[in-house]
């Protein structure tokens, strides 16, 4: 469970003994410098935008007509700059959503900043973005393009962004105590909204909506783990982080609970979820569940990315099990300077659905960059969530905070291996990250690659939590060959 809008830079109090060790070994620290070259292997920088120096979360890249548009969610502002000025109109605006034309990735054009909720860090902004074309939604306006975004923790909003420079509000679902990483099926309109319904005992659970007509949202049910529902007693299971659905064809929804602790992968029968009794009783909440994979208390489940029916070369001659259903589970590091258990990537084989099993893991090598000494968070946060053929089941891109983005070869998920990385340089706008030593803040400046997404063309978009902006990348060398490039 995380964690109640905790500010990472304030959250960094650490054990005295560990801090003493850090302070006493400055020779090992690899402090980043403004203007230094990025650290890169098999990845190259294509383009850059500073995102108005706003702390960035979820990027969604949408092929919109003959244009490619990036919709990038933001956390709230910082204590130092709670309401950054939008240079387009000269007005201070609470962080919300950046809308950028990335048709030419070498020259991204900032089109619009759509302000979000008042507040700093996770207490404000508009972190989440998903986009569907009206012509794909069953009852959408075929001329419209819809952006589903969060408005801080207070609401979900749908905007018509057919003209991305001039979004128009369509719908607002409010009265919540929190929001987070939603999923929206564009072919059906079913949305799994991570919400905080006030009567529930947890900050984040699922509200399932039919948003096939974004102008007329229809609530289907509330969902969560038994013990989270109103009126229950006893221990409260760890809160939801986010789901990913395989739609009616796959008929599964993979829910990730926990973020950096006590993670749970929950595999749910989508049809039973949508058509089962809606009253939130423990029995009704349990009914659509196929299985849970409880993780160690030391690790959470931030992203649960399904990769079903993967052919495994090593198993090709085996009589059974040549193809495996795999879920990639990404934890989120939360505490600065490694003052927690390592948060990383896990691969679960769910071929036998009611007996899911962890089969492998991946973490960037700490020693390769002395990342625990650099400042800020080290460990993973999130993966790309695009299922476009160019990378799906071949390469995964992992946002890894001060270790930048890491590309891993997942063709054999039993043996994932890193094949590329890119750590951007810091800028004068990169926000420091602090830990407490003897009651005083000791701060460092380091890149904090927060989220990553890819587009159908193969460009990789990474955004920074510490206000460094958007970097658009492409693969090169051996990594590019894995994706099918020359």
């Amino acid at each position: 469970m995380i964690r109640h809008n905790a500010r990472p830079w304030l959250r960094g109090s650490v054990l005295t003994a560990a801090l003493t060790l850090f302070v006493s070994t400055p020779a090992f620290a690899q402090t980043q410098k403004i203007g230094a070259a990025p650290e890169a292997s098999n990845m190259k920088l294509v383009g850059y935008n500073d995102l108005q120096h706003r702390s960035a979360y979820q990027p969604t890249i949408h092929h919109q007509g003959d244009r490619w548009i990036a919709y990038i969610g933001h956390h709230g502002g910082t204590d130092a700059v709670p309401v950054p000025v939008n240079p387009i109109n000269g007005k201070p605006e609470f962080n919300g959503t950046s809308i950028i034309d990335v048709t030419n990735p070498a020259k991204p054009i900032y089109l619009k900043h759509l302000p979000g909720q008042e507040g700093t860090y996770e207490g404000g902004g508009g972190q989440m973005t998903r986009v569907c074309d009206g012509k794909q939604l069953p009852k959408g306006d075929p001329k419209a393009v819809y952006l589903l975004r969060t408005f801080g923790g207070a609401a979900h909003e749908i905007w018509n962004v057919v003209d991305p420079a001039n979004p128009v509000l369509v719908t607002r679902l409010e009265g919540l105590k929190d929001t987070h990483k939603n999923w929206w099926e564009c072919d059906t309109g079913i949305a799994y909204l991570v919400s905080g319904e006030p009567s529930w005992r947890t900050r984040r659970m699922t509200q399932v909506y039919d948003l096939s007509d974004p102008r007329k949202p229809v609530k289907i049910r509330d969902f969560g783990l038994p013990g989270q529902e109103p009126g229950s007693t006893g221990a409260v299971p760890t809160e939801l982080h986010g789901p990913i659905s395989t739609g009616p064809q796959g008929n599964r929804v993979f829910f990730g609970y926990g973020t950096n602790k006590g993670g749970v992968l929950q595999i749910v029968d989508r049809k039973k979820l949508l058509e089962g009794p809606a009253e939130p009783t423990a029995a009704n909440l349990k009914a659509p569940e196929i299985a849970q994979l409880p993780m160690s208390s030391l690790n959470g489940a931030h992203t649960t990315f399904p990769m079903l029916q993967m052919p495994i070369a090593e198993f090709a001659k085996d009589k059974d099990g040549q193809k495996r259903d795999v879920v990639m589970i990404v934890d989120e590091a939360l505490v600065n300077e490694c003052a927690e258990a390592r948060q990383m990537v896990w691969f679960a084989d769910i071929t036998v659905e009611n007996r899911p099993m962890m089969i492998s893991s991946y973490t960037p090598s700490e020693a390769s960059g002395k990342f625990c000494d650099r400042g800020g968070r080290f460990g993973t946060h999130s993966s790309n969530e695009s299922m476009a053929p160019i990378y799906y089941k071949k390469l995964a891109f992992i946002a890894s905070f001060n270790a930048g983005v890491r590309a891993i070869d997942i063709r054999d998920p039993y043996h994932p291996r890193e094949v590329a990385h890119f750590v951007p340089a810091i800028t004068k706008h990169t926000d420091p990250r602090c830990v407490k030593i003897d009651g005083k803040d000791r701060c460092k400046v380091a890149i904090q690659t927060n989220n990553v997404e890819t587009d159908d063309r193969g460009y990789i978009y990474i955004v920074d939590r510490a206000n460094t902006g958007l970097h658009i990348l492409k693969l090169s060398g051996a990594a590019k060959k894995i994706a099918g490039g020359p």
């Binding site: 905790a6 500010r7 947890t202 007693t233 006893g234 221990a235």
Partner: protein
């Protein structure tokens, strides 16, 4: 110590208006807590300090646990409601099947603000009492659980708060929070 006890008694009286009707004779001496090893299995958070009190000064056998959870709290709002106490106060380490006996109350221990809530549960077929306290400072949480075999709720609160307000424990908490 005597002045601290007077302060605590006053605090309990404010929190629990019916304290005047509760049996108090056996609790007029300070509760005699003794530190023990952390009694719970390893979980997501580092362990903390635990104490037991087995003699009449506590009115019965009790176990108190205190630990710090860095980065667990709403940085602005602190402990928002009773659900949050259920969620974070480590009562689930005692038993997963606890039942609140009523709404919780706001509380302040030293400079920490939060909420306290009472629970009952059953162990080995016998009814027991538990308390959950969740205290916040900025983004960090102090999680406290108390469980007892025989003590009534008022006595349990008094004894627990007395230990929590002791300087040695407050210093330890502050060190965990990164203070000198």
């Amino acid at each position: 110590m005597r002045s601290a006890f007077v302060l605590l008694t006053s605090l309990c009286a404010i929190m629990t208006p019916d304290i005047g009707t509760a049996p108090r004779a056996q609790s007029l001496q300070p509760a005699q807590w003794r530190e023990i090893a952390w009694p719970f299995p390893r979980d997501a958070w580092p362990s903390g300090k635990a104490f037991t009190c087995a003699d009449k000064s506590c009115g019965g056998e009790a176990v108190l646990s205190v630990r710090v959870k860095l980065g667990f709290c709403n940085c602005d709002a602190g402990i928002r409601d009773d659900d949050e106490v259920d969620n974070v106060a480590d009562v689930d380490m005692i038993t997963p099947d606890f039942r609140p006996t009523g709404p919780g109350e706001a509380i302040k221990v030293a400079e920490f603000s939060g909420r306290i809530r009472s629970y009952d549960y059953t162990a080995n077929g016998k009814p027991r009492t538990a308390l959950g306290l969740a205290l916040a400072r900025k983004c960090d949480l102090i999680a406290i659980s108390v469980n007892s075999t025989r003590m009534d709720d008022i006595e349990l609160r008094r004894a627990a708060l007395e230990r929590l307000n002791a300087q040695d424990l407050l210093k330890w908490v502050n060190r965990q929070l990164g203070e000198k």
